[in-house]
Structure formats: C-alpha cells, structure tokens
C-alpha cells in the first residue's frame, strides 16, 4: 500500500456530548470547552489557534470566540456550504487549504449544537433546504426525503431491507462498548428495532439518528509541527467535497436518486490518494438514516446493488475482526449525534489506538460525510506517512 505524503495532521481532539437539552452551558461555552480540550490533548496553547472551520450552518462565528480563547490573531474563518452534515469532511479540506497555503497555521474544525440556542437539529437542517415545493408535499423533516430515496433503493433497485438492520446492529454493538456513548451498555433489541413505530416508511424509529447537545473540535496543524506535539499525529491524506452534475438541491430531480450523492466525490478521493476501498481499514460512516449509510457504502465502492447483502453483514462491520469495522464509537445512531462531529473525533482516536473498540493495526480510516445532502464530502485519515 502507498505511504502518504500528507501535509497536515490532526494534533488534538475534544468532544463534549450531553443528552439533548441538558448541556451545562450555552452553546458558545460548550464550544470553547471542546476547543480547549482539543488544545490540551495536543499540548497546544489555545491562544495560538489562528483559524476555524465549521459546516452545517453552525451559529458560532469564530471572531466571537477570540476573547474566550485569548486568540492572538484570527487568520482564517470559513464554513462549508449546506445545512446538513454533507460538509463535515469538506471542513478538513478547508483547514488543509488554509495551512498548506500559509494563510493560517493552527486551525480548529468544529461543530456545536445546543438545543436551547439553535433549536432542534432536524428543523435547522431542513430550514436551510426547505421551500414551498417540498412543504406542499408535506416534506418538512430530513427523514422524509431520505425515506423517499430509501424506498427507491429497496423497491426499485431491490436492495434487501435486511441490510439496514446489519448496519444499525453494528453501530449499537460498538456504542454498547463505548463508555462515552449514549447507548453504552445497551445492546440493540432486534425485536424492538423491527417493530418500532414508523417515522416515515420505510424508516422506523431506530433507522433514524439521534440528536444530542454538545460540541466537537479537532486541531489541525502542519504535519511537521504535529510531530512536536503531545499526541501521535493523524494525517489527512485525502479529502473531496462537492456534487456531480445531476446531483444537488434539485427538488428530488437528482439523476442517481437512490444514491447518497458521493459518485463524483468518491471518484476524486480515490484518484487523489491512489487508494481503493480495499485499502481502508475502518470507516466512520455518517448515517443520518440507515438506508443512506448503505447508499454511502455503495457510492464509495465497497459494494454494489447486486452484492450489498454479502458485504453489509454484522460480522463484517464490527471491530476487531470485521472486513470493514464501521462507526467504532457507535456512530450517529448509538454514540450520539452532534451533527456528526463525533465521527471525525473517533476517526482520530481509532488511528491513535484510543478507541473503545480498537481495530488492531488500523492504518487508514475513511470519514464518509452526511449522505444524501446536496453537497457531500469524504476524507481519508492515516497514522502512517512518508517522513
């Protein structure tokens, strides 16, 4: 396998997660906590952070964080367009662009969500994308457009519905073994999964992600600088964001309707890194809804409509022995959901050997961003590079 010549690395991570509506501080306070956690993790002075990137319409404008952090100079602040989690991996691309071009030297990628400040996430995501065409059809929550696409995946493309159960079980298996997960100590009851109330067909309750209060922050610096910091660097070896022609905010007129929208992003990610799905040791697979997680795996080339049921099996998806352990902290279903930022933190922890569900010898981790969003993004991290 190729070893990478990566120019930037994650040097520190911080994650503060609470039950929905139970955050101890208002939103900015929780965010500052997570940023300081990430800096302490790296052994880095928070005042030296000079860049910030968010996604998903985060409300916390970086310039407003400066007094709390003691920021000496703000050199970069940006956000990936889009209301959903589609931009999460793209945020690392912004950070890498800032650092590689010399516009900033220490960049925090973050996402914050405290319900008393920003309201319910599902409502905020949909508010970004809603219009009267959707509303007139009763489509008011992200679950419904995703359900429409899932129905097409199952009924037209004949993907067996059982694969969603395999994926949800894997997330809960890892969550049950992660002391920081909302579902810690709680295995998924398959009967409960299969008979839970309908949300929007074909989704039942446990096909849908949670919502939590909290904030996550990841500190990125140059690969060279990362070597001198406290923790083992985790390098960003590739990242792509965007949409191919025929995909986007198209009033449900997308060409590959049942997909998760990653065709062009995945193609560019593999081309950029010279890697293939076989080179990926584990994946943090953003699952807003179960079927979209499956579509994301298909889009990234791990399987296809014909062999999806052979690949997406519980045993294949769990640490330590699965072919592709996914969502090793529990994912959005079982760890908790602060708009996916926990998955990026877990990618780093997994590659440092700090995961609650370690994948022995893992060198690469795919972060597949929010599926089905008009703008999507993915990134690959590794703990090995050319030095």
């Amino acid at each position: 396998m190729t070893r990478f010549n990566a120019r930037v690395a994650v040097a520190g991570v911080g994650l503060r997660q609470y039950k929905r509506a139970q955050a101890p501080l208002p939103e900015r306070g929780v965010l500052v906590r997570a940023i300081v956690d990430a800096c302490e993790d790296a052994g880095f002075d928070p005042a030296e952070v000079d860049g910030f990137v968010a996604y998903g319409d985060d409300k916390n404008e970086p310039v407003r964080l400066m007094s709390d952090l003691g920021t000496k100079e703000l050199c970069w602040s940006s956000q990936v367009w889009g209301g959903g989690g589609g931009g999460i991996a793209g945020a690392f691309g912004h950070a890498a662009a800032a650092i590689s071009s010399g516009q900033a030297s220490a960049v925090i990628v973050f996402r914050t969500l405290v319900q008393s400040n920003s309201g319910r996430l599902s409502g905020a995501v949909m508010a970004h994308h809603l219009n009267d065409h959707l509303l007139g059809a009763g489509l008011i929550s992200p679950a419904q457009p995703c359900a429409l696409r899932a129905q097409r995946l199952f009924e037209h493309h004949q993907v067996p519905r059982s694969v969603t159960e395999e994926l949800v079980r894997a997330s809960y298996y890892h969550g049950a073994r992660n002391p920081n997960a909302v579902s810690y100590g709680k295995e998924l009851d398959l009967d409960a999964y299969r008979t839970a109330r309908w949300i929007a067909e074909p989704f039942r309750l446990f096909d849908c992600s949670r919502e939590n209060d909290g904030a996550g922050a990841l500190l990125l610096v140059s690969a060279e600088r990362a070597r001198d910091l406290r923790k083992k660097p985790v390098h960003l070896v590739g990242v792509a964001q965007g949409a191919g022609k025929g995909w986007g905010d198209l009033l449900e007129n997308d060409d590959d309707y049942a997909s998760a929208g990653f065709a062009s992003v995945a193609r560019r990610l593999w081309a950029q890194t010279g890697l293939t799905p076989d080179d990926i040791d584990c994946a943090q697979l953003y699952e807003n809804f179960s079927a979209q997680g499956i579509a994301s795996l298909i889009d990234h080339g791990f399987c296809n409509y014909e062999n999806v049921a052979e690949f997406v099996r519980f045993e294949n998806l769990i640490a330590p022995g699965g072919t592709l352990p996914v969502n090793t902290a529990g994912g959005n279903f079982a760890e908790g959901f602060i708009h996916g930022i926990g998955m990026a933190v877990e990618a780093v922890r997994q590659l440092r050997g700090e995961s609650a569900n370690p994948v022995p010898g893992a060198r690469t981790c795919l972060l597949a961003g929010g599926p089905g969003a008009p703008t999507v993004s993915s990134a690959i991290f590794s703990n090995e590079v050319i030095n």
Binding site: D132, L135, G136, G138, L148, Q151, A200, E252, Y257
Partner: protein, 143 residues
C-alpha cells in the same frame, strides 16, 4: 372557471411562473427554447445551450410514481395534513422525465413505484400557511 386565486408566497425566483400558474389552478413547466430541454427546478439560463429563453408550457399533471413515503410521525408544522399521509415523487414522461412532488389522496391500495397517477391543484397547510400544491390520485382509484 370560477376557481379562486390561491395565495402564493414566492413568485420572485426562476420558478415564479410555476407558482402563478398553480395559484390559477394550472400546472406549467419551463422548456428551453434553445435546445428543447425541460428544466426542473426552473433556471434563468440553460446551462446546456446557454439560452436565456425559457418558455413556460401548460402541462397535464399526469405521470408515474417515482418514489413514495408514508409519514406517521407528527413533525412540527404538518399537523393540519392529518396522519398518516403519503408524499409522492412523480415522473412526468411528457416533460422529459422531470419530477414533481405532492400528497396522495384517495385510495392507496395500488401504491407502488411505476403506478399511474393524476393530480389536481389544492392547498397544503404548513405552520399555518396555505401553500398551493398538487394532490395526486392513483389512476383507477376513487378520490
């Protein structure tokens, strides 16, 4: 003929003519005068041929179900629709396969992808606002 004009909230986008037609009880969709492509969502300029001439044509609201979902959860704002309700994505072969949205009314027994449907213009109430919208009926079903 004597159908009242429905209230329309947004007529200033590229899709303004769609809403004005819908409020008058008609369905109109845009087609590029330069290359003949049906565009939906509406565009100001055809990205395929570069033409700025987008012409609106009356369209029979008939097509086939491209996908569907039946909503059971009481999402905020949708209270007036009544649970459960079925939302459709409908493909219009007469418009180059462009797709329109809407709620299903009447019998749902034959609901499947590919089923033939036909629409009338009605209103959907969301968060207290009434929005002109299509109501689809499965062909052969009684509304």
């Amino acid at each position: 003929m004597s159908e009242p004009m429905l209230a329309v909230r947004h007529t200033t986008g590229a899709d303004g003519p769609y809403w004005r037609a819908l409020a008058a009880g008609r369905v109109e969709l845009p087609r590029c005068a330069g290359c003949g492509r049906w565009h939906w969502p509406a565009v100001f300029r055809c990205g395929e041929c570069g033409s700025w001439d987008q012409q609106w044509h009356a369209v029979e609201p008939e097509g086939t179900v491209f996908s569907w979902t039946r909503t059971w959860h009481a999402f905020d704002g949708s209270e007036k629709i009544g649970l459960p309700f079925v939302s459709l994505v409908v493909e219009l072969p007469q418009c180059g396969g462009r797709r329109l949205l809407g709620l299903l009314e009447g019998e749902a027994g034959g609901l499947r992808i590919g089923a033939a449907v036909r629409a009338r213009v009605a209103e959907t109430e969301i968060w207290g606002e009434r929005i002109p919208a299509l109501r689809w009926t499965l062909s052969g079903a009684s509304s």
